[in-house]
Amino acid sequence: MNSHVRWRGWVLVGPALLVTLGLFAAPMVLVIITSLYRREGASINRALSLDNYVRILTDATIHQALLNSLEVVALTVAFSTLIAYPFAYIIAFRVASKWQPLLLLLTVLPFWTSYVVRSYSWLLVLAKNGVINQTLVEWGVLAEPLAMANTRFATVLAFTHFFVMVSTLTIYASLRQIPTNLGPAARDLGASPLQVFLRVTLPLSIPGVVVGAFLTFVLAIGDYITPQIVGGGNELLLPQLLILQVSRRGDFPLAAAMALVLLVIVALVYAASSKNLTLERRK
């Protein structure tokens, strides 16, 4: 291609590039700069300093929120993988191929209720007078309704609900890529069904598990809605604390530093799992 046509390529790519630079790159640079400012009373001191980072390293409230976030996300990753793996396995290997798309579609159905509504609907289920409590009391299983809403349990449950759907898809995709003749071959060579699973199926499906866990981690750690609606204000997660700085305290510099901490955590997790972050089978 001649240089005239290459020049034309830039004209076509230009608008998207400019929009990305203006609406994404520039704001991110501003977040970095703002994180180096300092709130003093009602005003912002624009002398650059690392004060906000020192605060993040030393402030017990922020540590607690970070710890809460990491624990909730770790529990979510663990539970959703433990539920999604056997579930994806059943769909991939125990159901006739023609039914599999329908079952997957059913699996992700709640994905299409809105984000806010999905959290609210967990409140319906878990509330003191909600579906579970009323049913269990009626059946005589419980004498008193349980306090399930506005707890960490509720946050983890609602997160797990969402991410079981995500991980089921990624694990299913991985399982379906395992060549179908490997299992019978291993059986012919004398492996038991359990050995086939542990030595063939499981290792080959690890990429799906990693991709699902990665998505779960990245999306859950930055989520504000689910902990806010179903978890309540009893314990704060990092995004809740960040929003609090913005809406209540007007401390944009500290919020900016916290946003960057979130970004760095995600980047670290990405770096740690990037080797396995593909669903396509490697040759």
């Binding site: 291609m1 290459r6 390529g9 004209v11 319906l124 930055g222 900016a256 970004l263």
Partner: protein, 264 residues
């Protein structure tokens, strides 16, 4: 590959489906509740809360705002994504790999951070919060997706069609309008519908950038403060229904695309 027996598999599958579908079923069923509280026992069916919903001007305005923001941001991100995908796939500018990486980067950053960044930028530029800002925020989160979807539809085989048209004297605009767009149309429509759906559902960016005029998720959010309310169920069910329609369309279009790539 038999690790567990069929009975256990069935039981486990049913329990997981119960877990996955229970909140949605509760939402939809109790939207038809005749009394105010969306909890058992079921007192309906009644359309009372849908009537109240449509009589609620705040909710209707928010719904209209969401439709407008979703449509404009969807058209913009699809348009920008199409031009960029076409430019990269066909004209292969120098540095194409970097351009591609730059356009895809926002996908790796959480909406919370993007929304926060835009809100302090608007603050710095003394721009008041508005639906215009929300629309810009939705363009930037959907542009990478629209770009990726359309780029995946740009197949090398189709380039010969474009070259043939140019050889026959068609100008660049004619080639785009008469050849390129019709060929990748399913991808363009799928990108638009996905962008629309994500904008329609997006909360945190709108939360940072909207002022008095709000989008539907924000309006529903502010109604949550009154606690469990059958009207919120009705609003949630309506949102669900609209998303399902958009997604069914996207699915049908992607099927058409698949058939096309298999057929040719």
């Amino acid at each position: 590959m038999k690790v567990f027996n069929a009975g256990i598999a069935w039981a486990f599958g049913l329990v997981v489906y119960g877990f996955i579908l229970l909140p949605v079923i509760s939402l939809v069923v109790f939207s038809f509740q005749a009394t105010a509280l969306p909890v058992p026992p079921f007192t309906g069916p009644s359309l009372r809360w849908y009537e109240e919903l449509f009589a609620d001007s705040g909710m209707i305005e928010a719904l209209a705002n969401s439709l407008v923001v979703g449509t404009i941001s969807g058209v913009a991100s699809t348009g920008l994504g199409f031009l960029a995908a076409y430019g990269l796939a066909r004209h292969r500018p120098r540095g194409a790999k970097i351009v591609r990486a730059v356009i895809m980067t926002p996908l790796g950053v959480s909406y919370l951070v993007i929304g926060f960044g835009l809100s302090i930028t608007a603050n710095e530029l003394a721009l008041g919060k508005s639906l215009v800002l929300v629309t810009l925020g939705h363009i930037i989160i959907n542009l990478p997706l629209a770009f990726a979807i359309i780029l995946s539809q740009m197949r090398e085989e189709d380039e010969s069609l474009e070259r043939a048209a140019r050889d026959l004297g068609a100008g660049e605009l004619t080639v785009i309008a008469r050849i390129v767009i019709p060929v990748v149309l399913p991808g363009i429509l799928a990108a638009f519908l996905l962008s629309f759906t994500l904008s329609w559902d997006e909360f945190i960016i709108a939360f940072f950038l909207a002022d008095f005029d709000v989008t539907l998720p924000i309006e529903i959010w502010s109604q949550l403060r009154t606690g469990l309310d059958a009207k919120t169920n009705a609003a949630g069910t309506l949102v669900f229904a609209i998303s399902l329609v958009a997604l069914t369309l996207a699915y049908i279009l992607s099927r058409t695309t698949q058939r096309r790539s298999k057929g040719s």
